[in-house]
């Protein structure tokens, strides 16, 4: 359990580090604005063309088998519905523990991602399997709540045993140019997380431009996010290849700048093996192979796992498989 005194020190550390990175004596909204708007702009056409060209790689046979297993190991198996029940969360956990009952060599996903009130249920169901429990917090998915509520939401999930917290940024404040508010909120939530990893959901579908995605990525990393994540999955468009490309460039350049590595998690709309492999190619080409592990790259998905399992069965048996051979989520 994290004590108040250490969290205060961490917050000051984050602000101090931010001052160092920006080269200013005092962290003001003006300083953040100058820095974020001084970042090079994203060439929209070039970015989309690059993302499309990386999606044309042909990945077959042994490479495909490797990619499928790697992708399964990177999944945050997710259920975030108002209709979630204890039973549904348990069955999702059972699926994470034994993804394919027909083939014991199938790897397990990295984590289960649920609402905060389901953390204890998931934690109990997963036991000591090593599969993490991630909880969405801070008034997910809109993020429209006061700061004490967001912090209480976060602490609640951490106390219930969450290993990872997925927070949403205040998109209203971000779009209004109130970057200091966004920074402070992320930093405070990071404190509230204690030892839990913090993923910062930027909801790129609401940020409108790639320039904003780049700025939000840098702001999230500056404020102490361990992961930057595209979307809640509740807004369209969710994760896209070009947006993820911009984020992967950001984490790569951030490591050059500060020496610390930050993870990336595209979430929402990634449903097929083909999509997942495109993302893996992009991770390798843009960020580098250092990011090709569940520690630094995740997929936020639910139906993706079934498609990966079907493709895995196809490779194993030589015959196309069907929905009768995987569980219904």
């Amino acid at each position: 359990m994290v004590t108040v005194s250490t969290t205060t020190r961490t917050a000051q550390d984050l602000t101090a580090q931010a001052r160092d990175v920006l080269g200013v004596s005092r962290l003001t909204n003006h300083a953040l604005t100058s820095w974020l708007h001084g970042l090079p702009g994203v060439d929209q056409v070039g970015c989309e063309a690059r993302a499309a060209s990386l999606g044309t790689r042909s990945v077959k046979t042994t490479s495909k088998a490797w990619a499928i297993d790697t992708a399964i190991g990177m999944i945050d198996l997710t259920t975030l519905e108002g209709s979630d029940t204890v039973g549904k969360v348990r069955s999702l956990c059972a699926k994470a523990l034994v993804p394919d009952p027909l083939d014991g060599t199938t790897p397990r996903p990295a984590a289960i991602c649920v609402y905060g009130d389901m953390v204890a249920t998931a934690k109990a169901a997963l036991g000591d399997s090593g599969i993490h429990v991630a909880a969405v917090a801070t008034a997910f998915p809109s993020g429209r709540a006061s700061m004490p509520v967001k912090l209480a939401d976060t602490r609640d999930a951490v106390e219930a045993g969450a290993d990872e917290i997925d927070m949403v940024i205040d998109r209203g404040a971000f779009l209004a140019g109130d970057y200091l508010t966004v920074f402070n909120q992320i930093a405070e939530v990071k404190m509230a997380c204690g030892a839990a990893h913090l993923k910062v959901i930027m909801e790129t579908g609401e940020l409108v431009t790639y320039d904003n995605v780049r700025r939000a990525s840098y702001l999230s990393m500056l404020a102490g996010g361990d992961f930057i994540k595209t979307s809640t999955g509740k807004v369209q468009p969710a994760a896209t290849l070009p947006v993820t490309l911009v984020m992967l460039e950001a984490v790569r350049d951030w490591r050059e700048l500060t020496g610390s590595q930050v993870g990336v998690k595209p979430a929402g709309g990634i449903k097929t093996t083909k999509d997942a492999i495109k993302y893996l190619v992009m991770v390798s080409e843009i960020a580098g192979d250092d990011w090709l592990t569940p520690e630094w790259f995740r997929f936020g998905a639910s139906s993706l796992l079934n498609d990966l399992i079907l493709q895995r069965q196809k490779l194993a048996t030589g015959a196309y498989s069907g929905a009768d051979y995987v569980t219904i989520d």
Partner: protein, 295 residues
């Protein structure tokens, strides 16, 4: 100045759309006399996979429509076929080497065959179902239900009459189908796809792949998400071993409709004969329900 020809591109029919083959391949289709007619898309195993996905997606909706409604849709297919009669006469004549009058008779028979099966849709349950007498206070009802996604190897020689004679009975009961057309005579099948697309048949209910039968049949037979396979088209197909296909089909206990055999060798049936209920009966599953009966 003479007008340039507007040549037709013969493509696949998958999920209500007309894509080219995923493989990008095509092959030359020649007439019965050996003259070049057109290039057709050469479907691959991935086209078969996509077609099965489309058929599976369409199954819930199609099997859920009322039998009466399916009959109306099938009758609509016959109407649209009739409207395109001249085009089919040309294509069937070229493919099968028939003079116009004979080709016309074949097209008429094909249209009549669709109408015949259209009439059957809401009578299948009456004929194949039953109220069973049981020794207890129960209503005991057996009713036929569609088998699911059915793979069909269409006959190699009868390019239209044979084709509708294998498709219509399967979709009449609510199944969805993936059809691999005659390899050498695929063009009437592609045009039939255009008829289906414009006659209220939901996309994905019938999916048509023009391909070399030997190349794709094995993938269809082994596919775990296909519930039954009709092997009629192995008769006269190059390099196809129907027993091996049946063995592949056993992987997920598919229903197998065997080809007609003469002396152990598959032959194509006489499509002008009375079709009977055999092809309907082969692709339904009987569900029996016990319901308690009050006194």
């Amino acid at each position: 100045m003479s007008r340039l020809d507007v040549r037709k591109t013969y493509k696949l029919y998958i999920g209500g759309k007309f894509p080219r083959s995923e493989s990008g391949r095509s092959y030359e289709v020649v007439s019965a006399t050996g003259d070049f007619i057109a290039n057709a898309a050469m479907g691959s195993r991935k086209d078969v996979r996509d077609a099965v996905v489309a058929a599976r997606g369409a199954l819930g909706g199609w099997s859920g429509t009322t039998a009466y409604n399916r009959g109306q849709v099938l009758y609509r297919v016959a109407e649209v076929l009739e409207g395109r009669r001249a085009q089919f006469v040309d294509e069937v004549g070229a493919a099968e080497g028939l003079p116009a009058r004979a080709a016309g008779a074949v097209v008429d028979a094909a249209i009549d065959r669709v109408v015949w099966y259209a009439g059957w849709t809401d009578k299948i349950a009456q004929v194949l179902g039953n109220l069973n007498p049981v020794a207890g206070p129960f209503f005991n009802v057996s009713a036929p239900e569609p088998t699911g996604v059915v793979g069909i190897l269409a006959p190699q020689s009868s390019s239209l009459l044979g084709l509708v004679s294998v498709i219509a009975p399967v979709i009449a009961s609510g199944n969805t189908v993936v059809v691999v057309t005659s390899a050498d005579r695929p063009l009437p099948a592609v045009t039939l796809g255009e008829v289906l697309a414009t006659s209220d048949v939901p996309g994905g209910v019938v999916n048509i792949i023009t391909a070399r039968t030997a190349e794709v049949a094995t993938w269809l037979a082994a596919h775990r998400d296909v519930n039954a396979i009709d092997l009629t088209g192995v008769a006269g197909a190059d390099g196809v071993d129907w027993a091996a296909l049946e063995a592949e089909a056993a992987g997920n206990l598919k229903r197998v409709y065997r080809p007609a055999l003469v002396g152990g060798a598959p032959v194509e049936p006489d499509w002008t004969a009375d079709p009977g209920l055999g092809r309907i009966r082969a692709f339904v599953e009987t569900k029996t329900v016990w319901h308690p009966k009050g006194l």
